[in-house]
Every structure is written in C-alpha cells, then in structure tokens.
C-alpha cells in the first residue's frame, strides 16, 4: 500500500511538470502579453512601459521566464550564471542549500502584476470563502445524492424513482447561472427573504478576512455566523441542485448493481430482514464506486464554484479568477491554474488509495 502510494506520487511528478509547462504556454500564447493592459492607457509613456516590461522580466526569452517562474534560474543573474543560486549551488535546490527563494520550487508563486501582492497570499485569502461555500455544498449534495439514489434503487420504478429521474434530467440540463439568477429573483428580489450577493452584510460588519472582522466575530459570534449563514443559503442551494442530478443517478446505478448480486439474493433467501439486506449487504458494496467518484469531485472544493461565486459575488477563488482574467493578471491565473491542477492530481491519487482502502479485494 505504502509502496503503491509512493509509486503513484513519483508518477505524478512528470504530469505536474507538464502541467506547469502547459499553463505557462497558455498564458504566453495571449496576444500582446501581460503588457497589453497598458496599450490603451494614454497616461503611460513608452519609457514607463519599457521599465515595466523589464522589471517583470517580460523582455527575456520565454524559456528563461519559465525557468525563473519555476525557480530553476536565478532572476538576479544573466546567462549561464543564472543556473547558480546565491549560495553557489544550483538554483533549483531547496532554499536552505541554494539560498534561492524565487519560483515554484521554493514555494513562491510570484507577485500579482495588478496589485503587486504575493500570489500565494492572495490565493490563500480567497481560498477560505471558497472552502466554506464548496465544503457546505459538497457535504449536502453528497448526502442527499446518496439518500436519493439508494431510495430510488430500492423502490425501483416507484413514484419516487420516477420523480428523481425527472429531477435528474432537468438538473442535468440546467445551467448553474440560470438557476442562480432565478433563485436571486425568487428569494431576493421578490420575497426579500435572503441576501443575494456577497458573504457578509457590509453595513454592519467589517470586511471579511481583516483582523477587525475576526475581532468582530469573537465579540458577537452568533450574529456574525448567522449573517454568513444567510448569505450561504442561495449559493449552496444552487450548487447542490445542479450537482445532485448526476450523482444521485450514479448512486442509483451502483445500488441497483449491488442489489442484483448473488450475495444479496442469498441473504434474502436465508430470510434476513429486507432492511438489513439493503443496508448491510448491498449499500456497503454499492458505496465503493461512489467513494471514488467523491474523491474525483474533491478538486471542486478549490475550483468548482466559479460561476456560482460570480453570480452571488462570493469573494472566493472563482471571483479572483474572473477578476484576474479581466485584468490579464497572468501570475494570479498561473497560480490558480497550477494549484487546481495539483488538487486534481492529488484527488485522483486519494481516490485510488481510498478505493484500495475500502475494498479489501484490491491489492497493489
């Protein structure tokens, strides 16, 4: 098991390297490049533009830019000497040995060309709201999907089964943004029950994520948490409804498969109670593929709520990405793309390892 995990981690390294190359290539394929954002700015002189380009290293050949971003090359040196870090050892070695601090290999994602803040901190700040939203949604939708799927499978062709089928067809075809807009109209504009944008009531509390906010949260925890909770309801419903559709079908199919197995028939023939057969014999085995599926959906915690976050102005990774795309803030985009890709690779790994863990028949 440990051996298998280690082998998978080692296999993931070339994939991650390729991902970094591909994301960098995508960014640099942009017509005009990052300096494009100043093209229309009449206040900027050519001199200032040239200064900006030089300061960000955009005048360097692309492989060198990539090397600096990755941390293989020392940004303060030119030519072949750039391969050597400040302490005289190759630059790509860990900071303790080479003295280098730049680049992905040293945990540095660079700085936003828009705000100048470190990319790592910017993403970390946006990650908390995303984790709150996606986490709640994920737990709810997986719970409901399993419940719905199992019930539909146990009472196959019943009214409930047919109702979930219809619901799944509609949910599958429904665009997230449309459901979000309709919920905003119904509960926000028409009924005035729930807030439709943001994460907190900005009139009453300090901006989220600041020290002042945490102090405010400490002083009146109930008020602050219900405020966030009220803002959570609509985006969570949106995510849950859209995502239940596929997953409940998946659980249903898996459960039907398990119910048709010989051991279930044997258990029934022995005269065990129906409920015990369903839940002890069938459900446990039906959940095996579901576990893998959930593992594959985990990256969603980081990246999945792009559209929902935009519609509900939720200050998470999705909104950060949209803003960065608008400004062509390529360092932020690189960071977000790379971290999402890493979470996908890790989630795949986790799904495989988990599967081996829950299914004793699998040996590596």
């Amino acid at each position: 098991m440990a051996k298998y995990t280690i082998r998978r981690v080692i296999q993931a390294i070339p994939v991650l390297f390729l991902i970094s190359v591909v994301t960098y290539a995508i960014m640099l394929a942009a017509p005009g490049g990052p300096q494009q954002r100043f093209a229309q700015n009449p206040k900027m002189t050519n001199e200032q533009r040239a200064k900006f380009i030089h300061a960000w290293g955009l005048d360097q050949p692309i492989p060198i830019q990539y090397g600096r971003w990755m941390g293989i090359l020392n940004p303060d040196a030119e030519g072949i000497a750039a391969l050597v870090g400040p302490k005289g050892l190759p630059n790509f070695l860990p900071s303790g040995l080479s003295g280098a601090t730049n680049g992905l290999l040293h945990g540095d994602l660079g700085y936003s060309i828009d705000s100048g803040n470190a990319v790592g901190t910017t993403i970390a700040k946006a990650a908390l709201p995303t984790l709150i939203l996606a986490g709640f949604a994920l737990i709810l939708w997986i719970g409901i999907a399993i419940l719905m799927g199992v019930l539909a499978a146990v009472r196959r062709y019943s009214f409930f089964d047919q109702a979930t089928t219809v619901f799944a067809y509609i949910g599958f075809a429904m665009p997230t943004f449309w459901l979000g807009l309709m919920l905003i109209y119904l509960f926000g504009v028409n009924l005035h029950w729930l807030p439709v944008s943001g994460m907190i009531e900005t009139r009453n509390s300090p901006p989220f994520g600041t020290d002042k906010y945490w102090a405010y949260l400490g002083d009146n925890p109930i008020k602050a948490l219900t405020d966030v909770g009220r803002h959570l309801i609509l985006p969570v419903i949106t995510l849950v409804v859209v995502n239940i559709a596929g997953d409940s079908r998946f659980v249903r199919a898996s459960m039907l498969e398990a119910l048709s197995q010989d051991y279930v028939r044997t258990a029934k023939a022995k005269g065990l109670a129906g409920r015990s057969v369903t839940f002890k014999h069938a459900l446990r085995n039906a959940l095996l593929p579901v576990v893998t599926n959930i593992g594959l959906e985990l990256p969603f915690l980081f990246s999945g709520a792009l559209i929902t976050e935009t519609i509900f102005a939720w200050p998470g990774i999705g909104k950060l990405t949209i803003d960065a795309t608008n400004n062509f803030d390529y360092t932020i985009l690189m960071g977000v793309l790379f971290i999402s890709a890493v979470t996908v690779v890790l989630a795949n790994l986790l799904a495989d390892v988990l599967y081996a863990f829950v299914d004793p028949r699998i040996k590596y």
């Binding site: 070339p14 994939v15 390729l18 991902i19 591909v22 994301t23 995508i26 960014m27 394929a29 942009a30 017509p31 067809y169 509609i170 599958f172 075809a173 429904m174 665009p175 997230t176 943004f177 449309w178 807009l181 309709m182 905003i184 109209y185 926000g188 504009v189 028409n190 439709v196 990256p299 990246s303 792009l306 559209i307 935009t310 519609i311 990405t321 949209i322 795309t325 062509f328 985009l333 977000v336 793309l337 999402s340 890709a341 996908v344 690779v345 795949n348």
Partner: protein, 324 residues
C-alpha cells in the same frame, strides 16, 4: 394471447399470412424472421420505440428549424432597439405583442433574442462536438492501435489536459479572441480543442479490445494494411459508443458556452447566443425583470434535455442486451 387462439390457422394462404403477421409482430429477435438486419437497422428499430428519444429528436428538429427560418417570421429584427423616448428602464413583462417580454436597458424583444440565439448556440454545440470527436477519435485510435511509447505519450498528454480545470482554461483562452469582432469560430475551436480527452480515452479502450478480436487477426493474417484495418474493421465496430459520447459533448458544450458567454468571456454580442444575451440580465433582475433571463434559460434546458434523451435512446439502441 386469447386473440391469437381465436384466429384459426387455416391451410395455404392463411398460414402464410399468419406467419407474416407474426414476423411483423415479433420483429428482429424472433427466429422465424429470416430477413437479416444490419447493426444500424437493428439500432433504428430499437431507437424508434424509445419514446423520450423521439421527443428529443422532435425538440432538436424544432429548435434547428426555428434557428434556420425563425428570424424570417419575426416582426422585429435582432438589431431592433426601441426609440429613446419609449424606453422603460426595467423593460416590459410578457404581453401579446412581446410574448417573452422585453429586456431591461435597450428594451429588446426577448423572443427575437432567443430565436437568434438558437442559431449560434446550436452551431457552437454541434460544431465543437464535431471537432472534439474528430480529435478524440484520431488520438484514441492511434494510441489504442499502436500502443507502446506512442500510447504512453498520448495518454500522459490526456492526463495533463484532464488535470487542468477546463472552465478556467476556456475562460483564459477565450479571452485571447475577445478583440476579434466575429469570434464564433474561434470559440468553437477553443471548445473543440478542450473537449476531446474523454472521447480519446473511450476510443483507445475500444481499440484495445477490438484489435484483439478474431476478425482483426484474420485481416492481419491475409495481409490487410494497417490503415484499412483501422478504417474498415475496427472503427465501424467502435462507432456506437462514440456516437453516444458525442451527444454528451453537445449537451456539455452548449451549457458551458452559455456560462462562459454569460460571464462576458465568450462570443461577442454581435452574434447572439443563449448565454451572451443574458450578459446584463443580472443588473435588471434586481429591478424585477425575471423574463429576460428566464426564457433563454428554458431554451437551454429544453435543448440539453432533448440531446440527453437522444443520447439515452442511442445508448439503449446500440446495446445488444436490450431487445427491440
């Protein structure tokens, strides 16, 4: 049953008639039927009995018809904008003159927008599917047929592409074409290029299993060239799962394109799609204009549901385990 017994099977002509009648009733599965059917004829017989799939085909044909000839019958043109002195800020709700209402802001007829949007949305859905399926089939065939290093290399590329969050990448790449006035084909290309990975994995696995079958071995033994084996022996047998996954791609691409265009990163507004006509809708929703986003959304839901119905029907029709 009882009805059958009541009818006496007479000698001569009556028996032949009865046999014929039974044949017609029993269809392809009954052994008395000596007429042999090709795989596609069999599939069509089963597909025809799938009610939802037929409804799906009907809806799709309806939307295609609307997209092609709809704008001719409309009293308003796509570029029709109300005179400034007649503008109501929040638009007008559905009425007889405007069955789907009018948008906020420029106050355009929503029905006209939806019908014009059908053109581009369907074009994007189907064309990007074609590109995705083409790339996926070529990559999957090469990978599955050749195996070895080529297979390994191609599948690692697929791994990398699958690890990237597609929506993010599409947003970024679609941005590159924002300065083009007419960027529909660029967007189609972007969607095609980022949607082939699933198909290529499917085709690869099909090739891996089919290339071991006896008829391929026989073809190889008599010296048939690789190209002919791929196109004449393996690909036709792999076609039905590819067709089913193609329908899924159409549905997915229509929804994703709508989302990307809704966010303002997709097709430029000179070509209306079901997504980009909603670009400003969010602002006006807050003053109560629900009909603007509602109708294009319903059009998307109906189309995607129809495509999924057809996909289900095709899957059942191609499945040898289901009966006609």
């Amino acid at each position: 049953m009882a009805k059958e017994l009541e009818q006496p099977i007479g000698p001569g002509g009556a028996l032949a008639d009865e046999l014929k009648r039974r044949q017609e009733e029993a269809g392809a599965d009954y052994e008395i039927n000596l007429e042999s059917l090709s795989q596609w004829q069999l599939a069509w017989r089963k597909f025809r009995k799938h009610k939802l799939a037929l409804i799906g085909v009907g809806i799709i044909l309806f939307f295609v018809g609307v997209a092609l000839i709809g704008p001719i019958f409309l009293p308003y043109s796509f570029s029709n904008i109300a005179r400034p002195d007649q503008i109501v800020y929040a638009g007008r709700p559905p009425s007889l003159a405007h069955p789907f209402g009018e948008t906020g802001g420029l106050q355009r007829d929503v029905l006209t927008l939806v019908i014009n949007g059908a053109r581009t949305s369907l074009l994007i859905g189907f064309s990007s599917m074609a590109i995705g399926v083409l790339i996926g089939t070529v990559v999957g065939s090469i990978s599955g047929y050749l195996g070895g290093i080529v297979d390994n290399l191609l599948m690692r590329i697929v791994d990398v592409m699958l690890s990237l969050p597609t929506l993010f990448v599409i947003l970024v790449v679609a941005q590159f074409f924002k300065n083009q006035r007419d960027n529909v084909w660029s967007i189609i290309l972007v969607f095609g290029v980022f949607s082939w990975m699933g198909v290529s994995r499917l085709v690869r696995s099909l090739f891996l299993s089919i290339r071991e079958r006896e008829f391929v071995e026989a073809a190889k033994a008599v010296g048939v060239r690789d190209r002919r084996i791929i196109f004449r022996h393996i690909l036709p047998n792999a076609l039905s799962p590819i067709v089913v996954s193609a329908t899924l791609l159409i549905a997915g691409n229509i929804i994703t394109e709508a989302a990307v265009s809704f966010l303002g990163f997709g097709v430029n507004p000179i070509n209306p799609t079901w997504g980009n006509i909603l670009n400003n809708a969010r602002t006006f929703l807050l003053v109560g204009n629900w009909w603007w986003p509602a109708f294009p959304g319903i059009a998307i839901i109906l189309t995607v549901m129809a495509v999924n119905f057809v996909g289900d029907g095709l899957r059942d029709a191609f499945d040898p385990r289901t009966r006609a």
